[in-house]
Amino acid sequence: MYNFHFISSLFYETLFTFPFPSFNNLNFNPNFNFMGLRFSSFLSNSTVSSGPTLGELPESCVASIIAYMDPPQICQLATLNRAFRAASSADFVWESKLPPNYHLLLAKIFQDFPINLGKRDIYTSLCRLNSLDGGTKKVWVDKGTGKLCLAISSSKGLSITGVDDRRYWNYIITEESRFSTVAYLQHTWWFEVDGEIDFPFPAGTYSLFFRIHLGRAYKRFGRRVCNTEHVHGWDKKPVQFQLWTSDGQYVASQCFLKEPGNWTFYHAGDFTVEDGNSSTKVKFSMTQIDCTHTKGGLCLDSAFIYPSEFKKSKAFLNCS
């Protein structure tokens, strides 16, 4: 720990006189201070700056200030000087950024988590794209907000009706997903995707989305090209979404899939977690079952669970 000695403001015992402050009038004239500093730095020959510096504050004060910043800014300010660097790794600064149930998260995500890691390092570990359930899911804490996010892959993470039948579905390799493959639907009458997750979500409200792309994208000469020739059937009937939780929450909605050529997040529903100290089980489904017409030309990436406030703050979630 880097200790700063308190630097006496006796250097303010200046070589000039200043008007006696009036105790009843606290709207202090800033020009006094400014002129005072200028004058004193003119007289002193030292190279040390004449104003008070945040660098002179005790490390505990610096830590108290930066605790109000978001994690990326705390890390940026660490480069300012040694006191800021030391303050930026203070446990109490990071404790307030971690999800309140981080002990449970560590136990669920990691097999052997070292017990005496500092809080900042715990935060760093949680912010990585951590794999869960044999790589079929990814879970991470959003760096800026400290909120938990989760993605469930269409490849063995979600249960897709008819996915093993290559006449209907196959997996294509892509760079446009957090997972290495996405599921591509040629055509089917029975479009059904089910999923479930059992996870200790920190208390809060969450939104579930399906990330979908109408059309098939690939690279030609390094540029992204999208083939929407085979997109069909999605304008006939809307897709139905349903969501259940183990504590009895249920929500259902529907919407038409649109916007070929772009990855779109379709909002399936919200659920609330009251208590982060226990595991929450969520089941969800997306269906469009109509035997009078087929639908196809769709890429299914994954299901995402994001904190509901991200619907407003994250631009990529604004379309659904």
């Binding site: 403001s9 303010y12 104003g51 510096t53 660098g55 300012l80 990585r128 996010c149």
Partner: protein, 154 residues
């Protein structure tokens, strides 16, 4: 604490002497909010004048006024009056005098002023000298790389 803390019946008066010689007469219960002063009183019971060698009269006046008036509304308006230099000196004063409420209020205020500003801005505004060696700085940037990469686009 919404009302002023003075009580005519049991108010012993104490004198605080700022670094520039300015004297302040305050009630005991006000002075006790400054834990540093409280410790002084505990050590020497009969003391009447307590020296505050680290705080200028102008700042001590502000601190005393804060203790008398602090409440949510006052706090919200309080920090708006002061420029950066005063805020820092007030924080140094509050830290020395060990007044946790004022410290918190000032930390929040300073944090608000540097929120979302670049490190270069913070360095300039607060006159912070970089005492890292180039190797230390490089190591730091590497250590904190995770905070900047892979920001959630989609």
């Amino acid at each position: 604490m919404a009302e002023e803390k003075s009580q005519a019946s049991s108010s012993k008066m104490l004198t605080l002497k700022a670094s520039d010689g300015v004297l302040f007469e305050v009630e005991l219960n006000i002075a006790k909010e400054m834990k540093t002063v409280q410790a002084y009183i505990d050590d020497c019971e009969d003391i009447e004048t307590i020296p505050i060698p680290n705080v200028l009269g102008k700042h001590l006046a502000i601190v005393i006024e804060y203790i008398k008036k602090t409440n949510e509304e006052y706090d919200a308006e309080f920090e708006k009056q002061w420029n950066m230099d005063d805020l820092q000196l007030l924080l140094l004063a509050a830290n020395y005098l060990n007044i946790s409420g004022l410290q918190e209020c000032l930390c929040k205020a300073i944090a608000k002023r540097i929120e979302n500003k670049s490190p270069e801005y913070v360095r300039k505004v607060f006159n912070i000298e970089n005492d890292h060696s180039p190797e230390e700085e490089a190591k730091l940037r590497k250590e904190y790389k995770w905070a900047f990469e892979g920001v959630d686009k989609d």
